[in-house]
Amino acid sequence: MNRPQDIRVDLLLIGQMVRSGSRVLDVGCGDGALLDYLVSERGADARGIEISQAGVNACVARGLSVVQGDADTDLKDYPSGAFDYAILSQTLQATRNPKNVLIELLRIGKRAIVSFPNFGYWRVRGGLFFKGCMPNTGTLNNPWYSTPNIHFCTIRDFVNLCNELGITIEKSMAISSSGRPIPWAHSLWVANLAADQGLFVLRR
């Protein structure tokens, strides 16, 4: 089983936002690293949804409650308000209908924790501007023809969508390419340029 120090820094950031003993749904939980942390370190009642069979098998084999499913189609089966947190880490940009997924997350969870690659990151902008090529950063490292990411957005786009949907942003963080919060990114303008990832805590 993973020890907390093995967990990716950005996942650890999410994990530490979850209050001990909460009920958590991790949508797109991958191999279960965050779930494992939430269960073993935060005493959470944590479940997962994962689309890949390999990911699900790895999770269940390590004793986590994970179902094979798709964020786009399967969230509707969960009752409203069933979880304290619904987490969507690095998955929003791979969904077919991100807006609907966001609405569903906040129906199922009292709060949602969402992280996504920021397309406004200066390296992304620079790649497009100077090289004229689709970006290739640490977070975005698939060539355009095989990327699972089909709905990119910038931090500003995301904030606009939250405003449109009447979602309250409780907390937002600009995350650097090393997975750590950028302490000086106070304004949206700076965050949108400096952040490799955006991390948000949302509520209805």
Partner: protein
């Protein structure tokens, strides 16, 4: 305990009435079992087998539920066949259902012909086999009989209930009817109800039996014959539903059986024909035709949500178990969609559930076969459930 390794003559399927192998309990003597059909049964016998040892806290009992034509010898040697038990890959020391750790109980289902009371046994009222006078039973009746067996063994609750196919139906009935007695539940390649197609295939099988002139309205025991031809056809049809098209193609294709050319007749020219005929012929040596009618009927009547206004989630409302639901990609008898429906209902009541669809071209029967991924996942699920239950690494 008695063994019986001798091969029986055709038509003496299962054990002769009153003959026993493994353990058995006589239940329902004081208070009979009230069946779904309204009839009462008792006293009746449940044949069962156990593996491993019950711990002092009686917290490590696992109930293994068998499928349509299974028996209680899930591990070790089966005295009926002289071969390994039907789930020997799963149950035993160091295996996923580790008998060094768990106390495994495997009962033969009500209506079967391997020792638990069924239509082939003697009806005390008439002194001859029950035949069609045996009351029609349901999956829930099978589970009620198992609960009585646990009472008899002094086991209050189960660490786990596990089974594939019809065994999975029993698992689901367990969590619905005895929610306080189930800590974890593993329905594999199962469904929450029999579909029209499932019922249709069973009806083909039953009609094949009943069309055999040797069936005699179910009273073949009076004529010293058995409807083995009809039962063999029933098994052949059913066996096709247990395999996948890809599996059949991979194994047989259009290969010819011990010949280079067609015979232009109705011999088993194709390997697949020869294989199916073999499946049919060997089946009649080990199973009873009336039992086949009764158990297929019980499966057809199975609809977990029926008593809950058709809302499956309501059936699970009282469940306290953690679930591991498992299906196989090539299973078209109880396809993945059926398992997903179970998972959706469990999600709706926020039950702890894991669900995996395993890639396999071996069809419905995958759960009985060597599918390493299934074993790895079950091992992980059981280990974590055992930790939550406070079970030690070894019961002994």
């Amino acid at each position: 305990m008695t063994g019986n390794k001798g091969k029986k003559p055709r038509g003496l399927a299962g054990f002769a009435p009153g003959e026993q192998a493994g353990l058995s309990a006589i239940l329902g003597a004081a208070a009979p079992l009230r069946l779904d059909c309204g009839a009462e049964l008792g006293p009746f016998t449940v044949a069962y087998q156990t593996y491993g040892a019950l711990n002092a806290a009686k917290s490590n009992a696992v109930l293994v539920c068998h499928a349509l034509t299974g028996d209680h010898f899930c591990a070790g040697d089966n005295p009926f066949t002289g071969k390994a038990g039907w789930w020997d890959l799963m149950v035993g020391p160091g295996k996923p259902l580790d008998t060094d750790r768990y106390f495994v109980i495997c009962p033969n289902v009500l209506g079967s012909c391997y020792g638990t009371t069924g239509p082939r046994d003697i009806n005390p009222a008439t002194g001859e086999p029950w035949g069609l006078a045996f009351p029609v039973i349901t999956i829930r009746d099978m589970v009620r009989a198992q609960a009585m067996l646990l009472d008899h063994l002094g086991i209050a609750d189960l660490f786990c209930v596990i089974g594939g196919s019809m065994g999975g139906m029993q698992v689901l009935e367990w969590v619905v009817n005895y929610p306080e007695r189930v800590f974890s539940a593993i329905p594999i390649a199962a469904t929450s109800k029999h579909s029209a197609q499932n019922i249709a295939f069973h009806e083909v099988g039953r009609q094949a039996v009943m069309a055999d002139p040797h069936w005699h309205g179910g009273a073949y025991f009076r004529h010293n014959v058995t409807p083995h031809a009809g039962l063999a056809v029933a098994r052949m049809a059913a066996h096709i539903t247990y395999m996948s098209e890809a599996g059949l193609t991979r194994r047989f294709g259009r290969a010819l059986q011990d010949r280079d050319a067609f015979t232009y007749g109705f011999d088993a020219d194709f390997e697949v024909e020869s294989y199916l005929r073999h499946q049919g012929i060997t089946f009649v040596d080990r199973f009873d035709a009336n039992c086949y009618l009764y158990i297929t009927r019980a499966m057809d009547y199975f609809d977990l949500a029926a008593d809950y206004g058709g809302v499956l989630a309501k059936a699970f409302e009282r469940s306290r178990a953690r679930f591991c639901v498992m299906s196989f990609t090539s299973d078209w008898l109880y396809p993945t969609a059926e398992s997903r429906a179970i998972v959706h209902a469990l999600n709706a009541v926020a039950a702890p559930v894991s669900f995996v669809e395993i890639e396999s071209d071996k069809g419905h029967d995958s759960f009985l076969l060597d599918v390493p991924e299934m074993f790895a996942i079950l091992r992980g699920f059981l280990d974590s459930a055992a930790r939550q239950r406070g079970l030690q690494g070894s019961a002994r």
